[in-house]
Symmetry: D2
Subunit: 133 residues, 4 copies
């Protein structure tokens, strides 16, 4: 399954080269990940309340063309693998109405116990929702 979310590029996301600073694409991947999880009924607030964190352990991006101020972009997030121990997502960022892909990315999150920091398996209730992908 893929989930798309739109985002208007803000002035404060540009840099002196006149385009979006590349660190922002990682923030937008996060935005895509959050909306993907919301679409299958999982919110960060519920996870946090269950004392579960899900830190990023690996992420990468390829930048094909820059987004610019005031562009309305689409962040398309695809779940590659959602298991009891990890979340793997792919991302594609483009301008709404334009097929050209600006940025692609890939990330890996693991689940950890918020208190101990150790890697854990999420409870069954989450895994049921992960099967929805």
């Amino acid at each position: 399954m893929s989930v798309k979310v739109e985002h208007r590029v803000h002035f404060y996301e540009t840099d002196q080269m006149g385009v979006v600073h590349h660190a922002n694409y990682f923030r937008w991947f996060e935005l895509g990940r959050v909306e993907y999880l919301r679409a299958i009924g999982v919110t960060l607030v519920e996870l946090i309340n269950d004392n579960i964190l899900f830190p990023i352990t690996e992420i990468d991006a390829k930048f094909h063309a820059p987004a610019r101020y005031d562009d309305l972009i689409s962040i398309e997030t695809t779940a590659v693998e959602l298991t009891k121990v990890k979340l793997v997502f792919d991302y594609k960022i483009s301008i709404v109405g334009d097929e050209k892909i600006l940025v692609t990315g890939h990330s890996l999150n693991v689940f950890t116990d918020a208190s101990s920091g150790k890697i854990i398996r999420v409870p069954e209730k989450y895994f049921e929702r992960f099967r929805l992908i």
Copy 2:
């Protein structure tokens, strides 16, 4: 008392106008505030461990001239009033070696209980250090 701290302007702090985005000055005021408190022996970590937060309740800035990429700036923080219930600071930002003031600012923090969110008075041990200003 005044405390000066230096900061090199990063590329990611600029925007499309070719100068520093104005929201960054508020981050630099924070940097100045932190170093001021460190100079009188108060760290955020100690406050947090004592279950004390110190949210900003008012802040303002006047922008006279922009800082630019790679400028080495000086953030001069002056305590106006440090009491058991609040911290009031003034800020002056300039380029190191240049008397011209780029930005001035003023802030008010109060102390709150991290659990209840209510305004509190800090314990005497902090207030002793506040008298050092």
Copy 3:
């Protein structure tokens, strides 16, 4: 006239205190300002193409209560004064569906020539639109 724009609070806008970092409110004021100007037919791109910049010269905020992760906030921007030489705006930030005001603010922008940096008057075509407030 007032213009409202909504914004979902992102995880990357929070800090270790568990609430939105205060510097973000200045970014959201910018977002409000941009949408206000768009509502009266003025875009930053047109201004930039006309070699006009409009740097912030003064800004302030009062923080009454914090916004939190995933809050859907409303940024209400009111033009106080739009003239040939300056833009003055007031801001109110609240959670959508809740009357409580979290943050209020006020800003002053002036118009400058992008090449010389000198303060200028905007051309009549802009001022006509400013009268719409």
Copy 4:
């Protein structure tokens, strides 16, 4: 050759999980890249004045352990390949005085003409300095 630069973790670089938000590591890689180039006599300002941009086209990171507020971190940048058309760097982030690696990364920049956006070869004067690695 490797170049190390130190950075104090700011409060505004943390997020609600109580650690540094991962997007910041990409900003710190940039900081490392800038200081590496400065060490071999290349500044972004000179490149920009020569109408040369050097956008990031690929970047990745692995996060082994989080940096925290007020940590003094070391960003170690190693040039893997500096040619007339591209810059390839590796990064290692650790806490000063601690051998444990928190984050590793890898990036690819290409040189482009600032006006046309096309990939170009940098002038010989830069390449001479690139040989210093």
